[in-house]
């Protein structure tokens, strides 16, 4: 069921919406989800949608984007229509377990997923039946509801999303791809909530692909919680490819146990307003985390990456690299915080943020931060803003490469440092191709999306 609402004063209407639709919100949702709603709403009521007065959202005022006439789907009708039939994310040679979500609702998965024994991939609504203990134990445990009002909002409103559980010792041979498609004839607000649990000695790679399929204005609030248990390996690649009217707040909250190794990579190729939060808590010794991001923005786009790496225990390592290219009137922000708790000795933490500004109107704000309470640590961070190297350009031109080609070559070399970190070979090739096209100005649409190529459905190519 669709509910249309007009938001002017933010909290007031959102809270009214919550209270009016409470029964719909709760129906079908797992107990644990429903049990957190009221507390979450209270926090949301108190803090509201963050404006740039909130330090964590200093460079992204989200308030205007959460206003206006928006539709919210409180039931999963849309997920059952055949929209996913038209859509196929065709990453060449990339064999994945493909799962669709429509407007945040879990849709029918590929008929023959052929998942290894014990692996569960289902909607959040079913999770309670399929893995009651796991769901009960982990849902809502790592997303910082109290600190971030958008997480609170998601916790209050979210009804569905994907649930993935990989049992002990299972190594998935290919990535699970969660494709979220935003569609509809009205401007829309959607919530999505994912929970991923990778048990001991298990390995999992996940791709989160975000697409838009119609030209309406979309506001998306996604929260993904990840638990990486002892000795597990987990990768998540978030490929954002949405039209300019999209506002996406995407949060990935990872909780790590002993010897686990995780990687997150936010590849923002095209998005209107994107705010990506990545929080990693290393809650045991000898964890390793890799947090990467690449953002390519033009027109009036805005990308804000915010990371928080919490070294709560000793002997952990973190590596962080975010790179951005800002064209036209695009604005970008990076804010990274590395926190080393007292007694988290022998910590190694590296953080780097590099930006290229291509035009006079592009803007970048960078805020790398270190907060350190232990002494036996090696922590460093660096941030740069600059242009293409004149000398490198001269070198290329002296060898007969024209200016434009040289420019693309250098920009691509700049971006490739992040692409290189992708641990799924075919995806690396795919992203490489997309980024190159993007720099050549040929990238107006997601190349991997067949829909765009079809007559009458080029809406996402805005």
């Amino acid at each position: 069921m669709n509910v249309a609402c007009r938001i002017v004063n933010l909290q007031e209407e959102y809270i009214k919406l919550f209270n009016d639709q409470k029964s719909l919100l709760q129906s079908g949702a797992p107990k644990k989800m429903n049990s957190l709603r009221d507390d979450a709403l209270k926090i949301f009521e108190e803090k509201g949608i963050p404006s740039n007065k909130v330090e964590a959202y200093k460079y992204t005022n989200l308030q205007p984007y959460f206003k206006g006439s928006l539709n919210v789907a409180f039931t999963n009708d849309a997920a059952h229509n055949d929209i996913t039939q038209h859509f196929h994310c065709e990453v060449p040679q990339l064999n994945t377990y493909n799962v669709f979500l429509v407007n945040g609702w879990f849709s029918a998965k590929d008929s023959d997923l052929n998942l290894p024994d014990g692996v569960i991939v289902c909607s959040m609504q079913e999770a309670e039946q399929k893995a009651p203990d796991v769901f009960e134990k982990y849902y809502g445990e790592t997303a910082p509801m109290k600190e971030d009002s958008l997480v609170a909002m998601n916790t209050a409103f979210a009804q569905d999303g994907a649930f993935i559980y990989v049992p002990k010792g299972v190594v998935l041979d290919k990535p699970i791809q969660l494709v979220n498609i935003m569609t509809g004839d009205e401007d829309r607000l959607a919530f999505q909530r994912n929970l991923i649990v990778v048990d001991e000695n298990a390995q999992l790679k996940v791709m989160l692909c975000d697409h838009t399929m119609s030209s309406q204005r979309f506001v998306i609030n996604t929260v993904t919680e990840v638990f990486a248990k002892e000795n597990s390996v987990f990768d998540v690649y978030n490929v954002q490819n949405q039209h300019n009217l999209t506002t996406q707040v995407q949060g990935i909250y990872v909780h790590q146990k002993k010897n686990s190794n995780i990687l997150t990579n936010n590849l923002t190729l095209h998005a209107g307003i994107a705010r990506n939060n990545v929080n990693v808590t290393m809650d045991d010794d000898h964890c390793e985390s890799h947090v990467y991001g690449l953002y390519l923005s033009d027109k009036n786009q805005h990308v804000d990456n915010s990371t928080f790496i919490n070294h709560a225990k000793p002997d952990c390592q973190s590596f962080e690299l975010f790179k951005g290219v800002m064209d036209d009137s695009a604005t970008g922000a990076f804010s990274g915080r590395v926190y080393v708790a007292q007694d988290a000795q022998r910590t190694n933490a590296y953080q780097s943020n590099n930006n290229l500004l291509l035009t006079d109107n592009a803007k970048i704000n960078s805020k790398p931060q270190l907060e350190i309470y232990a002494d036996d640590v090696k922590c460093s961070h660096g941030a740069t803003v600059g242009q293409l190297d004149d000398e490198a350009m001269f070198y290329l031109r002296a060898r007969g490469i024209n200016k434009e080609e040289g420019r693309i070559l250098l920009m691509f070399a700049f971006a490739y440092e992040v692409i290189e970190k992708i641990r799924v070979e075919p995806l690396k090739e795919q992203i490489r191709g997309l980024v190159e096209k993007r720099f050549r100005g040929e990238f107006d649409k997601c190349d991997s999306c067949v829909v765009c190529g079809q007559p009458g459905s080029n809406a996402s190519c805005l």
């Binding site: 500004l357 970048i364 704000n365 931060q369 907060e371 660096g382 941030a383 740069t384």
Partner: protein
């Protein structure tokens, strides 16, 4: 090995404040508290012209509407602003004719600190404008400076004698509504220094002022204004030590610097106010607003600071680079020990074309202290070819202290080149081993490594200050050894 090291670190970082003594001079104070009447009283006591009173009252009005900022990485106990005496001056003495007229106790205080007010002043070539609790008691070398047309006097004097200059520049760099403490200072400042370097003059000597906080329960509200006119140069030194005291003392100063075309100003600070005892009791609260504007083309301002004292330091000497080709520099060493807290750094605001800035910040934390660097590099849309390089290093001595880095980069021009890098580490065992192997004790090795680590900044200080700064570092970290 590691245990030994820790033991020695504990020993050397556990030293007591060496400059803790108290001079007993008769004081002229007013009742505690802050009201409009108090401000009128301060103004009247200082016999100020009407425009200054207006300036103060306007600031007071704004201050009343403000709240104390809480964004810094500091844990500030609540301050009762009504429990502070806002004016304290040594009892008025007849105008002093020579050194012999200076209070012997006061002179003894200076001697203990090694301030060359006596014969040494000529040898060292330093003109000293000694400020004891807010009122200048002695100004030297005035004539030498006057010959060149340089004005170097207390700000209260300047208010009377150079009203045009004061009116033109006072409050233009740090406005009375800039922040909570700036507003407070604008309302109640009692004294400070005023420097004016006329066009084309290169100040022949280092100008210096020694600040000391000396009376019980008095916050000291200094106000310094330095104006360097076209093609001039001045190097200004400020150094502070304060006697040991149990009650917290509030210090909210303002320093304003204006550099006109092709002018260069170098401002150096050594700050060693009472940091509180080993349990974190007492100590000075140092909430200072320091800002410079490079108004003219090709002007340059350079801040150098060595911060070893104060229980809480909240200080961001900044540069507004307005003129084309102007240059801003910031060199800082901040050492915190025991329960000290420091949140310090700089702001470089690039407005003009081809402006450059350099930031070198070195933090050393020991004991249970917290040491933060917080800085902003802002390049506005019109600031073509701006260049910035920032380096912020932290050294941790001990496992109960914190070192934090909060840089902000806001870049809105595509020809800007901005780089920031920061590292945090402790003294490597291999470094200590290397020194031990060559016959240095672990203790000496720590001193050597720390001094080497901050060398880049100390080198920026004028010679006489560099010596003092090195001593201070030793005292701060080595205690009894120094």
């Amino acid at each position: 090995m590691a245990e030994d090291q820790n033991k020695i670190l504990d020993e050397v970082t556990g030293g007591e404040y060496k400059y803790g003594f108290y001079t007993d001079i008769e004081m002229d104070t007013i009742p505690k508290g802050l009201t409009e009447d108090v401000i009128r009283m301060i103004s009247a006591k200082k016999n100020e012209p009407e425009y200054m009173l207006e300036f103060r009252l306007k600031a007071f009005e704004k201050w009343q509407k403000m709240e104390m900022p809480d964004w810094a990485h500091l844990n500030i106990p609540e301050i009762d602003f009504q429990d502070i005496i806002y004016y304290a001056a040594p009892k008025k003495k007849p105008q002093l004719e020579s050194m012999d007229d200076v209070d012997p106790e006061l002179r003894a205080t200076f001697d203990k600190l090694g301030i060359p007010l006596d014969e040494q002043k000529i040898l060292s070539g330093v003109a000293v404008d000694a400020v004891i609790d807010s009122v200048s008691v002695k100004t030297t070398f005035k004539e030498t400076l006057a010959e060149k047309g340089i004005i170097f006097c207390s700000i209260s004097e300047a208010v009377h004698e150079f009203p045009d200059l004061v009116k033109k520049y006072l409050g233009t760099v740090v406005t009375d509504s800039d922040n909570f403490f700036a507003a407070l200072n604008s309302a109640v400042f009692t004294d400070g220094s005023f420097v004016y370097i006329p066009k084309g003059v290169r100040c022949p000597m280092e100008l210096s002022t020694y600040f000391r906080i000396n009376a019980m329960n008095t916050g000291q509200f200094e106000r310094t204004l330095i104006v360097a006119d076209d093609d001039s140069y001045v190097s200004y030194l400020e150094g502070c030590t304060a006697p040991q005291r149990d009650e917290n003392q509030l210090h909210a100063a303002i320093v304003e610097i204006v550099a006109n075309e092709r002018a260069e100003v170098k401002y150096s600070t050594v700050q060693n106010w009472y940091p509180g005892d080993k349990e974190g009791k007492g100590g000075i609260y140092n909430f200072v607003t320091k800002r410079a504007i490079c108004k003219g083309d090709y002007s340059k301002v350079s801040w150098t600071q060595v911060e070893t004292g104060s229980a809480i330091t909240w200080k961001y000497p900044s540069c507004i680079l307005q003129g084309d080709h102007s240059v801003g520099e910031f060199y800082s060493v901040a050492v915190t020990n025991n329960y000290q807290q420091a949140d310090t750094g700089t702001k470089m605001i690039h407005l003009g074309k081809n402006t450059r800035s350099l930031i070198v910040s070195k933090g050393v934390s020991a004991g249970k202290s917290q040491n933060s660097y917080r800085g902003l590099v802002k390049v506005s849309k019109r600031a073509d070819n701006a260049r910035n390089f920032s380096q912020c290093d932290s050294l941790l001595l001990g496992d109960r202290c914190g070192a934090h880095t909060f840089p902000y980069l806001e870049i809105a021009n595509n020809s800007a080149k901005v780089e920031h890098e920061a590292t945090t580490s402790k003294i490597g065992e291999d470094q200590i081993f290397y020194c031990n192997q060559r016959g240095l004790s672990t203790e000496d090795a720590v001193g050597l490594i720390v001094n080497g680590y901050v060398k880049e900044v100390i080198n920026q200080l004028p010679m006489e200050f560099a010596v003092e700064a090195q001593k201070l570092l030793q005292i701060s970290l080595e205690g009894s050894v120094g």
